[in-house]
């Protein structure tokens, strides 16, 4: 098929850095992609789950007899049925002296949040299963729900777990530098409470699981909408207590994850268990309501910040006290996420002394866990709001205060007092570019004019740094490397099998670009395979902005190994020194004597037909790498935005957005822009409208998309994006990662703009989301005070 293309090959092109359109898109746009719910297997049955209507209750008894007798129902199970035969939902995070909060696959005698699975029906049809759920009778003894994390910490609060004396899951501390001394010598100290509200990831595709068991092969195949197929395989095998080779996980198309599918859920164990027990395939597809109630939530921190600084704006020290609402149970990384806030509490500033205390609290709500940014948006938010508080206090321009506190370029790699080492950066350069693109001086003049005219306009800045390319294995519960096998087939086609599990990031395209670049091919000659544990080597998965920097590096290294082997073969055939060979236009030729040339396909064929092998050389072309990074990477950038607030209503309109991001070298600028755009929009959601609201009884009142607002295209102005490029020294391609940058950098810029707009009303801080009524009330109050 590719022969014709090869003969008319375009002149030499470098594939890395090209704005190639995504190979994935045609099938996604045309509706030809296959998601879990598209899978239909012969004899497949359907599962539906009865979920707790109470946030906190004892289960006195469950009567399943009517459901069991309903038409089409083959099985009804409760917590008692799986006790002992299906393990708990795994948590990979360990924090010293952490209290246990294990989640059973189905509730055992007690429910601890609204939506917790209590019983499960399997029936021959989806409707029959759902109808039978209504026939299950549960006798609950309601207990007082614990909803507010601060009240949960009080003496006398009801306790979620009888075996614990209180609801404090853990206390975690981190201190670097002399914090006491810093506060002692400060000219000024400012304190502020900052709330980072609970969010619902709301991926377009809810979760879904299909499982099929073949007893002859003793093989359970699980299709799941997940970001971590291999970790899921290991955990399902553990939950079911079967050998790991008895489980195969396949990840079909995943319609968005944002961290919410970086997890192992009760249903993934349950559906596997049912397929084995019943001997028929079983499917479960999450409804939107279930997705809101029982897929992990994000953020939910109360951060009390105290900053010590000099009159000239130099920051001397920072104290942060975090109350992290963990929800009722630990999911995969629940307790770990808030600690990332601690690690990144220095922001992109040289803050000599930092102390962070985190209290993880258990409440009768859904678990929090990794949601796009996972602990870092909270850190950036608190640091960037703090910088603006300092600027406001000193009546200085926020850009100047930021510049004052950047570490010098000569200080990189820069070690923060929180114990991380920023690999490379040029913070002034990205800030300067953003200021220039936004025409910052002119914006401030416009603002002065707007204020004279009685309009409410604000300008917000954020200079951020984030931690990604997760990460060195020392910092990662299950290891932080990534794998890649590259196999060149006898036909010359290249298969890249990656342990990353892309679900929207576009690595089928960018990894193909790496392959094309290294082997001198076209991206269409390179195929990327992922998400099937029987095909690709064990991998860690896609999260923490790691797929390019860690997974891509493994791909790069495997490709380089094969390039070397191909060069040996070609050198042998051409009688040329392999190190002098160039790979270009589907050819391998001598740099000094370009006529000494051989087709890429000929060399591949020679490696497989094996008629004339170079000395000590095996036939075949297959290489695997497990790349272990030596450090994280630390992308950074500067965002500037402008808001205008409707004085009559409190409506906040975003009128301008400028983002300068530095994610190191760029494989495909279209993909990077897409990630930045999406991240900014998600930030806009948190800043302006999103909030998971539980009432005092622990009912999730934002339980549907009719009440939980997420941003739409029409909410956004044109986003002007640009880049600076500071390559990372920690991987050979110099890439850093960009999947979460927008969500990390944008939220504080938006918040700072809104506070800036409201400052004439005497407002120093306002918590997100900036809903109209909240803003309107502040303006009303401010206007009254002014009178």
């Amino acid at each position: 098929m590719a022969t014709a293309t090869r003969q008319v090959a375009k002149p030499s092109t470098h594939q890395i850095g090209k704005p190639l359109k995504r190979k994935e898109d045609p099938r996604l746009i045309q509706g030809l992609a296959h998601y879990v719910d598209d899978i239909v297997l012969p004899g497949m049955q359907y599962a539906a789950i009865l979920r707790s209507p109470y946030a906190h209750a004892k289960i006195r008894s469950i009567d399943v007899s009517k459901a069991q007798a309903a038409p089409g129902v083959s099985l009804v199970i409760t917590g008692a049925d799986v006790r002992g035969s299906l393990g708990i939902v795994p948590c990979a995070a360990q924090i010293p002296d952490m209290k246990s909060a294990p989640r059973p696959a189905l509730a055992q005698d007690r429910v601890r949040f609204v939506g917790e699975g209590v019983a499960l029906v399997v029936a021959t049809g989806r409707y029959a299963a759902r109808d039978a759920v209504d026939l299950i009778e549960v006798d609950y003894e309601p207990l007082t729900p614990v909803v507010d994390p601060e009240k949960a910490m009080e003496k006398g609060s009801p306790v979620l777990y009888d075996e614990h004396k209180d609801n404090v899951a853990y206390r975690w501390e981190l201190e670097g530098g002399d914090v006491k001394a810093a506060f002692k010598k400060a000219d000024k100290v400012v304190k502020q409470r900052l709330v980072n509200q609970r969010l619902i990831p709301a991926a377009m595709e809810p979760r879904g699981v299909v499982a099929e068991y073949k007893p002859g092969e003793r093989l359970l195949t699980v299709w799941s909408s997940t970001q971590i197929p291999h970790l899921l395989r290991t955990q399902i095998a553990a939950m079911l207590d079967v050998p790991e080779f008895s489980v195969r996980v396949i990840t079909p198309e995943v319609g968005g994850g944002f961290g919410s599918k970086l997890n192992v859920y009760a249903e993934e164990g349950l559906i596997g268990y049912l397929a084995m027990r019943l001997g028929t395939p079983v499917k479960w597809i999450e409804s939107r309501r279930e997705n809101f109630q029982t897929t992990i939530h994000g953020r939910d921190q109360i951060d009390d910040v105290e900053v010590a600084f000099k009159k000239d704006g130099t920051i001397l020290g920072l104290r942060v006290h975090v109350i992290a609402d963990l929800g009722a149970y630990y999911q995969l990384l629940t307790p770990l996420i808030p600690t990332l806030t601690g690690l990144m509490a220095s922001g992109c500033y040289k803050i000599p002394a930092i102390r962070v205390e985190i209290v993880g609290v258990l409440t009768n709500k859904m678990s929090t866990d990794a949601y796009r940014g996972a602990g870092r948006p909270e850190a950036t938010y608190l640091v960037e709001r703090t910088l603006d508080l300092v600027a406001a206090e000193l009546k200085k321009d926020p850009a100047d205060v930021r510049r004052k506190n950047f570490p010098k370029l000569s200080e990189f790699p820069y070690a923060t007092p929180t114990g991380v080492i920023y690999d490379s950066a040029n913070y002034p350069r990205s800030l300067d570019l953003a200021l220039k693109l936004a025409d910052y001086k002119k914006l401030r003049q416009e603002q002065a004019k707007a204020r004279k005219e009685g309009r409410v306009m604000g300008i917000g800045l954020s200079t951020y740094v984030e931690i990604c390319a997760m990460g060195p294995s020392s910092a990662m519960p299950a290891g932080g490397w990534e794998s890649a096998t590259v196999r060149i087939e006898p036909s010359g086609m290249v298969n890249i099998m990656t342990g990353s599990s892309p679900h929207g990031q576009g690595q089928e395209t960018s990894f193909a670009q790496i392959g094309a670049e290294i082997l001198g091919l076209e991206p269409d000659d390179v195929n990327v395979i992922h998400g099937d544990t029987s095909i690709v080597p064990y991998g860690i998965g896609t999260f923490g902005s790691r797929a390019t920097a860690v997974g891509g590096t493994a791909v790069y290294k495997s490709l380089m190994k094969l390039r070397e082997k191909l060069a040996t073969f070609a050198g042998f055939l051409l009688e040329e020194n392999p190190s002098k060979l160039v790979f270009e236009n589907m050819k391998i030729y001598s740099k000094s004597q370009p006529k000494k040339s051989i087709g890429f396909g000929e060399v591949v064929a020679a490696a497989y037909t094996a008629k004339k092998l170079p000395p000590n050389m095996e036939p075949g072309l297959d290489a695997t790498t497990f790349f272990e990074p030596t450090n994280f990477t630390f992308p950074f950038g500067a965002h500037i935005c402008v808001v205008e607030i409707d004085k009559d209503t409190g409506d906040v309109h975003l009128t301008k957005y400028v983002a300068v991001d530095d994610c190191g070298n760029v494989l495909n600028p279209l993909l990077v822009d897409g990630q930045v755009h999406g991240g900014i929009v998600q930030s806009f959601g948190q800043a302006m409208m999103e909030e998971a609201v539980y009432d005092e009884q622990g009912q999730l009142i934002t339980g549907e998309l009719t009440d939980y607002a997420i941003p739409r295209a029409a909410d956004m102005p044109w986003m002007e994006t640009d880049r600076t490029v500071t390559p990372s020294p920690v991987n050979p391609m110099g890439v850093k990662g960009v999947g979460e940058a927008g969500t990390i950098g944008a939220t504080p810029a938006l918040a700072n703009a809104v506070v800036d707009a409201l400052s004439p009303f005497g407002v120093r801080h306002v918590d997100m989301p900036f809903k109209r009524e909240r803003i309107w009330k502040l303006m009303q109050k401010g206007s009254r005070r002014a009178k």
């Binding site: 539906a48 989806r126 409707y127 759902r130 109808d131 209504d134 409804s287 309501r289 009559d648 209503t649 409506d651 302006m688 409208m689 609201v693 009142i701 934002t702 549907e704 998309l705 009719t706 009440d707 939980y708 607002a709 997420i710 809903k771 109209r772 009524e773 309107w776 009330k777």
Partner: protein, 291 residues
């Protein structure tokens, strides 16, 4: 979406639909575009035993002039109203209102009759239907009757339709001379429904006085209503931006505002005034021939 089981019928004629409705009474729900009923049955908040789908009835989706009135079939979609050139020239308020409903998909499926019959307190049409003094035609096995818009909205999700009646048509008068209309709405950010929506209709007299003013408000209370205090304050007054602004402050008079996650009662009350003012100013400006 997996609703509780129901028996579904899709009658071919309005007469058949009415007979089915008469037979099943309270146990039946009428399905037109589905945009009110489906969200309820999806969560099993409504579990009707019978669903009578009138969405396939022929001849109930039209917009035409009849005896000096504009008549609109109950099954006319929001999209058809939004794009009707007849309405654009003779009843632009409905065009403007339809354009603010939901999104393209919703407007393609949802119907005028369905929205009015459901009487969601945050629906958009009720405000405009009230401001236009429209007439609503209800059909039953015993014939048809006409209900003035002012009497149609009874309470939250409750209309003057009697058991066995199906809303079949809406009639509005064409825009009078020296008259301007406008619909202004604060969207609920998640659902797109109105937190407050205000429809204004202003007719100016030859001497620059306000000859007629009508204000319909939705979203504020349990049902859409005419802001009579505003209208009374305007009638016969010299028309000016200030006179409308002053009168609009009375928009919530006599109404106990709703309160929810998206807007407190206090805020809704204030916003009713803001949006009534915006609608009136725009209507005033249009009545003067400005765009």
């Amino acid at each position: 979406m997996i609703p509780a089981p129901f028996e579904y019928s899709a009658p071919k004629t309005l007469e058949d639909a009415l007979r089915l409705l008469e037979r099943h009474g309270d146990e039946a729900k009428i399905l037109a575009g589905g945009h009110s009923l489906l969200p309820l049955i999806k969560l099993r908040l409504a579990q009707p035993r019978y669903v009578i789908d009138i969405g396939r009835l022929r001849g109930m989706s039209y917009i035409r002039e009849e005896n000096g009135q504009i008549v609109i079939g109950a099954l006319t979609s929001h999209a058809d109203i939004e794009t009707s050139s007849l309405l654009r020239s003779k009843c632009p308020l409905l065009v403007e209102t339809a354009a603010t409903i939901g999104d393209v998909q919703v407007r393609n499926r949802g119907t005028l009759g369905g929205s009015l019959a459901h009487a969601d307190p945050a629906a958009d049409y009720p405000a405009s239907i009230l401001a236009l003094d429209a007439e609503i035609v209800a059909a039953s096995t015993s014939g048809t009757r006409t209900i003035p818009a002012k009497e149609f909205f009874v309470d939250m999700l409750t209309t003057a339709l009697r058991p066995g009646e199906i809303l079949s048509q809406v009639r509005v008068a064409p825009l009078a001379a020296q008259t301007g209309t406008a619909y202004e709405k604060m969207h609920q950010p998640a659902s797109g429904f109105a937190i407050v929506g205000a429809a204004g209709r202003v007719t100016l007299g030859k001497t620059g006085t306000i000859e007629q003013a009508a204000v319909g408000i939705t979203g504020l209370g349990p049902k859409a209503f005419r802001a009579l205090a505003v209208e009374k304050a305007l009638l016969g007054k010299k028309a000016s931006e200030k006179s409308f602004a002053d009168a609009a402050r009375l928009a919530s008079e006599g109404v106990e505002p709703l309160s929810d996650l998206h807007a407190s009662a206090e805020y809704r009350r204030e916003m009713a005034a803001v949006y009534a003012n915006r609608a009136l100013q725009k209507a005033f400006s249009r009545a003067q021939g400005k765009v």
